[in-house]
C-alpha cells in the first residue's frame, strides 16, 4: 500500500536577517500567488497545516508558512544563550521581508495571526507596496493586557503548561476538542521565554495606535478577521482599528477564538476562502 503523505514539503532556508545568519524552517504547498503565513506568539507554522493541505487554496496559492527564528524548527541565532529573547517591530518586520526576499517571492500575500496580525498592520503601514494583499487575523492596533507575562518564564512554573493554560481560554468552546488540544500542544513545546519574548513586541514595542491611520488600502488591500471568542484581541479592538482605516474589509467570525486556522479549520475555511477568492480575482 502506498504511504499516505500530506501534500506538504518542509525545507530549511539559509538567509540573513539584519546581517545575522539564520536557518529558517518553512513548509509549503501549492502553486500560484505566494501566500506567506505567520504563526502566533510562542507557536510555530504547524498552526497552518490545514490550510497547506487544502486543495481549494493550493490550486491557486503557493502557501508558505515559516517558523520565526527561535520558534518551531528555526533555531535561534548563534550566541542566543548570552541574551534574553525579545521580538520587536523592527526585528519581526525584518524577518518577514528577509524570508520573502530570499525566497524571491513576487508581491506575496501575507496573512498573520495575533502577533502575526499585528505585524501585518505594520507591513500595511510601512511596506504596503511590496505586497499584493494583507490579511490580519485577530489583530488590532492595541489590546489591553490580561495577565502578567512574568509568569511565562520562571523556574517554579512549567513554561509550556502555563503558556497553554493561559491561551486555552482564547479557544472557542465550539472548537473541536482534537483541534483545541493540538493547538495547545504547540504552546507546550515552545522554548523557554520565547512566548514572553514575543509578547514584548505585542505589548510594549508594537503599539500601533494612531499609526494605523496611515494605512492606504488603495496601495494594498487589507482584510481583518477576528473570532468572537477572542478576549485578548476582542472584536471591539478589531472594529475600533478598522474604523481608522478607509477601505479595509473587516469580519467577526462566529464560534471562533484566537486561533482560527488551527482551533477550527473547517469554520475558518468558510471565512477565508471568500477573502482568498477576492484576492486571486
Amino acid at each position: 500500500m502506498a504511504p499516505k503523505l500530506d501534500p506538504v514539503v518542509g525545507r530549511y532556508l539559509r538567509t540573513e536577517i539584519d546581517g545575522v545568519p539564520h536557518r529558517l524552517y518553512f513548509e509549503e504547498a501549492g502553486q500560484g500567488i505566494p501566500l506567506v503565513c505567520l504563526h502566533t506568539a510562542g507557536a510555530d507554522n504547524r498552526q497552518y497545516r490545514h490550510l497547506l493541505a487544502d486543495p481549494e487554496i493550493t490550486r491557486r496559492f503557493r502557501v508558505l508558512a515559516f517558523d520565526l527564528p527561535w520558534h518551531g524548527k528555526s533555531t535561534p541565532p548563534n550566541g542566543w544563550e548570552r541574551g534574553e529573547y525579545r521580538l520587536t517591530t523592527e526585528s519581526y518586520t525584518a524577518a518577514i521581508r528577509a524570508f520573502c526576499h530570499a525566497m524571491e517571492l513576487d508581491k506575496p500575500v501575507v496573512m498573520g495571526c495575533s502577533i502575526g496580525g499585528r505585524i501585518v498592520l505594520n507591513l500595511a503601514i510601512a511596506h504596503a507596496a511590496e505586497f499584493r494583499a494583507l490579511i490580519a487575523l485577530e489583530a488590532a492596533d492595541f489590546q489591553q493586557p490580561w495577565y502578567d507575562t512574568a509568569w511565562l518564564h520562571r523556574p517554579d512554573v512549567h513554561g509550556g503548561e502555563v503558556c497553554a493554560g493561559l491561551v486555552s481560554g482564547l479557544i472557542a468552546p465550539q472548537s473541536p476538542p482534537v483541534h483545541r488540544h493540538e493547538t495547545l500542544w504547540m504552546y507546550m513545546q515552545s522554548g523557554p521565554g520565547v512566548f514572553k519574548g514575543d509578547l514584548y513586541f505585542y505589548r510594549i514595542d508594537g503599539d500601533l495606535r494612531e499609526k494605523v491611520k496611515a494605512i492606504d488600502t488603495k496601495v494594498c488591500p487589507l482584510y481583518l478577521l477576528t473570532g468572537e471568542y477572542d478576549f485578548s484581541c476582542t472584536p471591539d479592538d478589531t472594529l475600533r482599528t478598522a474604523r481608522q482605516i478607509p477601505g479595509v474589509e473587516v469580519q467577526i467570525m462566529k464560534d471562533v477564538g484566537h486561533f482560527p486556522m488551527s482551533e477550527h479549520p473547517a469554520k475558518f475555511r468558510e471565512y477565508i476562502l471568500p477573502v482568498l477568492a477576492k484576492i486571486a480575482g
Binding site: Q144, W146, Y147, W151, D156, V157, H158, E161, V162, A164, G165, L166, S168, G169, L170, A172, P173, Q174, E228, Y229, F231, T234, P235
Partner: protein
C-alpha cells in the same frame, strides 16, 4: 438553584472526573473561591478535593482566593458560555472576577483550576 448551590456539588463532580484528578495529582493546596457573596474553602490533596467548606470561617488561611460575581458564574457555567464569559481570565479582564494571594499554585496548575472551576457547567441548572 443559586450559583453557590451549584458549586456546592463540586466534590461529586470532581469524583466523577478521574482524568481531572489525575492531572492534579501533584497539587496539594488550600484555597478560597467566592461564588458571589459566599466563600468556599477548598482543601485539595493530590488533586482530590478532601474538603469543601461553605460559608465564612474565621481566620482561615489559604494560599489564594478567586472570586467572581453571581452573574459571572451563572454565565461561565452555561453549557456553551457566550463570548467574554467563557474563561476565568475573560472574567477578570471584564472586571467580573479577581484573584489575590500567592498565585503560584494557581499558575502551576492553571488548566486544572480552569477545568475544576468549570465543572458545574456539567450539572443541569435546577438539578
Amino acid at each position: 438553584m443559586s450559583p453557590a448551590d451549584r458549586f456546592a456539588a463540586l466534590p461529586d463532580l470532581l469524583s466523577g472526573d478521574p482524568d481531572l484528578r489525575r492531572r492534579g495529582r501533584w497539587l496539594s493546596v488550600d484555597c478560597q473561591v467566592d461564588i458571589g457573596p459566599e466563600p468556599f474553602f477548598l482543601s485539595i490533596r493530590d488533586g482530590a478535593l478532601v474538603a469543601l467548606d461553605r460559608g465564612q470561617r474565621l481566620m482561615r488561611s489559604t494560599a489564594f482566593t478567586f472570586r467572581a460575581t453571581d452573574e459571572a458564574w451563572t454565565n461561565h457555567w452555561k453549557a456553551v458560555p457566550e463570548p467574554g464569559w467563557h474563561d476565568l481570565f475573560a472574567l477578570t479582564k471584564r472586571g467580573s472576577a479577581s484573584m489575590e494571594g500567592d498565585l503560584r499554585p494557581l499558575l502551576q496548575h492553571l488548566q486544572y483550576f480552569k477545568d475544576l472551576l468549570a465543572l458545574p457547567r456539567r450539572q443541569p441548572v435546577g438539578a
